[in-house]
């Protein structure tokens, strides 16, 4: 639910990083926080368990600068990936404008990716939103692990599993070393802003 403030000439947009547990959603936000320190005026908020897992969400407000004369404020959120936190995941999705689905490239996580994507579809549906219509980018995370000899899913097989029907942009990345984290963010912001513009035409 983006909000356009005509008085301040400001647009607030909500982007949620979704995906299976331990997939790298929080790591994406941490990298963005470190990289764009100058544009982020506040601390990153993280509500996590004692074991350092996301309990509710992470939150990072991000100033995009001006687009068509409007100051664009992007509010980045992550959801908790663990299956048991479905109720809180659904809460974070309320009013979402764009989604980054962070898929885990490790071969052992194949099923988790597919279940989480289906869960995203179901949870969006509770807000009467379609996964086929919402701005969505897939990030195939942890590509760096191939250097360590950990078996990874090929990008072709991930495309087949996750993107054969959606046909949305997909990006290989490594949140840990920052590979394509910014590109993923730029891609989702571009799609989300284009969708907003279309809504207003």
């Amino acid at each position: 639910m983006a909000f356009v403030n005509l008085k301040k000439k400001e647009v607030q947009v909500k982007i949620v990083y979704y995906g299976p547990g331990r997939g790298g959603k929080t790591t994406n936000l941490e990298y963005i926080y470190e990289t764009y320190n100058d544009r982020i005026k506040t601390e990153m908020i993280a509500i996590k368990t004692q074991g350092d897992r996301t309990l509710f969400f992470d939150f990072l407000p991000f100033e995009m600068g001006k687009i068509m004369g409007y100051d664009v404020k992007i509010q980045l959120y992550t959801v908790p990936g663990q299956v048991k936190y479905d109720a809180t995941r659904r809460l974070v999705l309320r009013g979402v404008d764009g989604v980054v689905f962070v898929a885990d490239s490790m071969a052992v996580r194949r099923k988790n990716n597919m279940l989480s994507l289906k869960n995203l579809q179901d949870n969006l549906a509770t807000y009467k939103k379609s996964i086929f219509k919402i701005p969505l980018v897939l990030q195939y995370n942890k590509r760096d692990l191939s250097d360590k000899g950990i078996p990874l899913l090929s990008c072709e097989s991930m495309e087949k599993d996750l993107n054969s029907r959606l046909k949305v942009p997909s990006i290989e990345g490594s949140a840990l070393n920052g590979q394509n984290v910014v590109q993923t963010l730029k891609q989702i912001i571009t799609l989300t802003m284009a969708a907003l513009e279309k809504e207003f035409k």
Partner: protein
């Protein structure tokens, strides 16, 4: 869904916030939507709270409490209040999609604040109801 509020509505909302709250000693008051966006805010000028983070947390908090309400068979808890040693926070739902949040110190009585909140919620609902377009 995207919604737009113009200068006139936002001026009217800010006027309500100023008249009903900052004038009675509330240190910070803001209207947010349930997605966590900040719609309007007013403060006494003496504090520097990060209202964008507060808005995200407040929307999440309210959502969590509403889900708890449903589990125990209530439609919702429409009012929430957290008491601190110096500052306290009061949340009140405005229509279906908005929350009014006030931060105040021990000099403001909770009863008086609740009276003002109830009044302001009606006024803001009228402004939003008449002016907001989907």
């Amino acid at each position: 869904m995207t919604y737009v509020l113009g200068q006139e509505q936002l001026d009217a909302i800010e006027e309500v916030l100023e008249e009903d709250f900052t004038n009675i000693g509330v240190s910070c008051v803001f209207l947010i939507d349930m997605a966590g966006n900040v719609v309007a805010s007013q403060d006494s000028g003496k504090i520097t709270h990060d209202i964008y983070s507060l808005a995200a947390l407040a929307a999440g908090n309210f959502g969590a409490v509403s889900t708890m309400a449903k589990i125990i068979g209530e439609d919702e808890f429409s009012i929430l209040f957290h008491k601190g040693k110096k500052e306290s926070i009061h949340f009140s739902k405005v229509m279906m999609d908005f929350l009014l949040i006030s931060i105040f110190d021990e000099k403001v009585s909770l009863g008086f604040l609740r009276l003002k909140v109830s009044d302001a919620v009606d006024k803001i609902a009228t402004i939003l109801d008449h002016q907001m377009k989907p």
